[in-house]
């Protein structure tokens, strides 16, 4: 009752004000603007999704879109109503707008379609324009459905540490064998080549522009599977025909503009979620992300929506293929395949001649996989690798049989089966001759002892972690440790793969040194080394690092010390749920406070449920002995 009265009052007021402003306006435009005001279209979720408006902390709205060409009104970025009125006005004009220089009806075709439905445009007084460019673009997709594509994490490039997500526009009549021909819709930062360390820094503060692109999927496969060796997961989405069209219409509008790219939140995964939100406004996907958007989390969220995902496909990276094929062969055949890549005369040896033709084909295919792996992952590949690959393939072609289907199982399960990103822990224990209780919060993401399901094996990214501890005898509550960034990448070395392992750890902890019992200590530690995989019990990874470390603390003479040393360790799966890690380090500090440290660590984790674990850890550092039992929850 109150509402209808209000609407009536508004309808009395509005025509007066707007007709007073613009007397030369098309009367039909004035009528449409009034009608839109009455129906409060500018307040609707649909309009906010189309223009990417987000509610501000102090009220009001602001669009996440940063290209002025995306708005028809000069105040459009912050004023949904003004933008709507000016958009309607532009629909009456054939003037070319936006970065893509098209009439507004075509450049912003999703807005046009929505407003047309809401306001029931009269085709005589507001004639529809033909949008040939859009039609050609749209029809060329031959769109049948959309797939979410997740190339998994790749630690050796800061741009891809957390994985990536993009969409593939699946074509009508596409098969498993021809899906590489489909186009993708991808959002990425425009980073100049060779940005190096500037990438993460500038990326965090949004100083790159992010654009949408539509490259064919075969180029993505080349990049992720062959060059970067990342497993890819493909999730086919269930969209209705209408949702599919809405998705593509909105994608067309976004090809027009850019968003400032923020590494943590407004990143590749966030902005492509906005496309799905527009396709089906009931999904509310982007609403779930406040601080940061981690690709694996967006996958988890999409999979959690009932009936949204119809099919999951795994596409192994080339290195995974090579590893699985090597497992499949006998030791003798495995060595043969490897020797062929170094010496082609092995093809004439009795060992090779003695294999049956399908086995010969398998060995040759593996040899070619390996040579192409070397060619694609080396900065200046040797010309003889290419020649050898040609020769191997030539021999292969003479076998005149097609290669048999070989099913490759992933080493890491799909991301949505993994633990969640935030972690909180409560624990207690002994340190030297005191007892303590402690609480920890970690912002992300995964450490070597966390449950490995769904995460890149042997890779650790910990960030934004803080532990507060209360010591009972000393009756002291303090920040016990904090982590800014703690990265470890273990890459087991074998006959084929030789990548180094590395680590980087920046944070603070609590030490006992000289006369100081509980002293805060800032540290920077970085190391490089190698790892080796064994299969004695289940799976063990041995590793060794040479490292450098700098410490800053009031406990040291001259307040600091700088030195180096080494670490050896082992990470071992004992059972499906039980994992252990043990490390030993020796570091000598010749600069600043001249001292040295022996460090031992033994940790053990038991998985209670996907998002619940318990740990028992022993830490020896210099003069400290610390035993901690903790319960950890992921959320």
């Amino acid at each position: 009752m109150v509402l209808s009265l209000l609407a009536f009052l508004v309808s009395l007021l509005v025509p007066l004000s707007s007709s007073a402003q613009q007397s030369d306006r098309d009367p039909y435009l004035t009528q449409l603007i009034d009608q839109a005001k009455q129906e409060k279209l500018a307040d609707q979720r649909e309009w906010h999704l189309l223009l990417h408006y987000q509610k501000g902390i102090f009220g009001g709205y602001e669009s996440e879109q940063d290209d002025p060409g995306f708005f028809m009104s000069t105040t459009g970025k912050t004023d949904p109503a003004a933008e709507l009125a000016e958009t309607l006005a532009q629909f009456f004009s054939a003037e070319l707008v936006g970065r893509s220089r098209q009439p507004a009806q075509c450049a912003f075709i999703a807005r046009y379609q929505w407003l047309k439905e809401q306001l029931k445009f009269d085709p005589i007084r507001l004639p529809p324009l033909a949008c040939e460019r859009f039609d050609r673009w749209y029809n060329d997709f031959e769109a049948d459905s959309i797939s979410l594509i997740f190339p998994s994490a790749f630690l050796n490039n800061p741009a891809s540490m957390f994985g990536h997500t993009l969409f593939r526009v699946d074509q009508k009549g596409q098969t498993e064998q021809t899906r590489i021909l489909a186009y993708t819709i991808n959002f990425a930062a425009d980073v100049p080549p060779g940005a190096g360390l500037a990438y993460p820094i500038r990326g965090i503060f949004g100083s790159y522009k992010g654009y949408f692109s539509t490259i064919p999927y075969y180029l993505n496969v080349q990049k992720y599977r062959d060059i970067e060796n990342r497993d890819i997961w493909e999730y086919r989405l269930n969209l209705t025909e209408t949702q599919l069209r809405r998705f593509l219409m909105h994608a067309w509008e976004l090809g027009n503009a850019y968003f400032d790219y923020f590494f943590f939140k407004e990143n590749c995964s966030y902005h492509i979620l906005a496309l799905l939100d527009y396709a089906d406004p009931n999904l509310h996907l982007t609403d779930e992300f406040l601080l940061w958007t981690v690709p694996a989390d967006t996958v988890r969220l999409i999979v959690s929506k009932p009936d949204l995902v119809s099919n999951i496909t795994y596409r192994p990276s080339r290195s995974t293929v090579i590893k699985r094929k090597r497992e499949f062969l006998s030791g003798e055949e495995r060595d043969l395949a490897h020797r062929i890549t170094q010496d082609l005369t092995e093809l004439n040896a009795p060992l090779f001649a003695g294999l049956n033709p399908p086995r010969q084909a398998f060995v040759l295919d593996l040899a070619s996989d390996y040579l192409r792996y070397r060619i694609d992952t080396t900065n200046s590949p040797k010309p003889e690798w290419k020649e050898r690959n040609r020769e191997v393939l030539k021999t292969r072609s003479q076998l005149r049989i097609p290669s048999e289907e070989f099913t490759v199982r992933p080493f890491a399960k799909q991301p949505e089966l993994g633990h969640k990103m935030f972690r909180a822990a409560l624990g207690g224990g002994w340190r030297n001759n005191d007892t303590f209780e402690e609480a920890t919060f970690r912002g992300g993401y995964h450490d070597l002892l966390d449950p490995e399901i769904g995460y890149t094996p042997d890779a650790q990214i910990e960030m934004a972690s803080i532990t507060v501890r209360h010591y009972n005898r000393a009756d002291q509550t303090r920040v016990e440790r904090a982590t800014l960034l703690n990265l470890v990448s273990l890459s087991p070395i074998d006959a084929v793969f030789h990548a180094p392992s590395w680590k980087l750890n920046i944070g603070m902890n609590t030490i006992r040194h000289n006369d100081c019992q509980l002293c805060s200590n800032g540290f920077f530690n970085s190391g490089i080394g190698g790892a080796k995989e064994l299969r004695l019990l289940k799976r063990e990874v041995l590793f060794a690092f040479a490292e450098a470390e700098a410490n800053v603390s009031g406990a040291y003479d001259e307040l600091h010390r700088i030195g180096g040393g080494g670490t050896i360790g082992m990470l071992a799966d004992i059972t499906e749920r039980w994992k252990m890690m043990a490390t030993g380090s020796y570091l000598k500090f010749p600069l600043g406070d001249k001292s040295d440290d022996f460090r031992w660590y033994v940790g053990s984790r038991f998985t209670v449920a996907r998002n619940w674990t318990v740990r028992l850890e022993y830490n020896h550092r210099g003069h400290d002995n610390d035993v901690l039992f903790s319960v950890q929850a992921f959320f």
């Binding site: 930062a189 100049p192 060779g194 992010g210 692109s213 080349q222 393939l393 072609s397």
Partner: protein
Amino acid sequence: MSKKALVFSIAVLFGAQAGLAMASNPDTGPGCGLGKLAWGEYKGQKEIAPQVFQATTNGTFGSQTFGISSGTSGCTHDGKIMGEHKTTMFASLNFEALSAEMAQGQGEHLTSLATLMGVPADRHAEFFAMTQERYTSLVQAGEASPVALVKSLNDAIAGHPVLAQASVR
């Protein structure tokens, strides 16, 4: 082999063909600037695709939507590969995978190429056997240029008793 020479040969390839395309297609777009992709750090062979598809970073976007690029033709203003270029571009950008799969007598790149060339699905096995048999000459053609590879494949199809009848081209 310098990457410049490779990029140049692709530019020439698509540039030369674009002349023909212009007459029939009203959208004579600026090139396959399909992506703002930071592939610049990759060296050698791997740079071919990024070069063809790479965007300029100087902020002059012209009137394109998804097409943001640097001079090679074969793509529309809106980041789509023109129909008549789809096969050659695919052959060019996937040559290494195609060579391996021709030798192996199967694979998704080879299946996709057969589909682009109009070989019906029930004749793919014959197409694969043919490419395996002619592996050496096809790869030689492909090393010369992707156009030569597609032409050799077309000639081979035309001379093949089963494929010639089945193919819709």
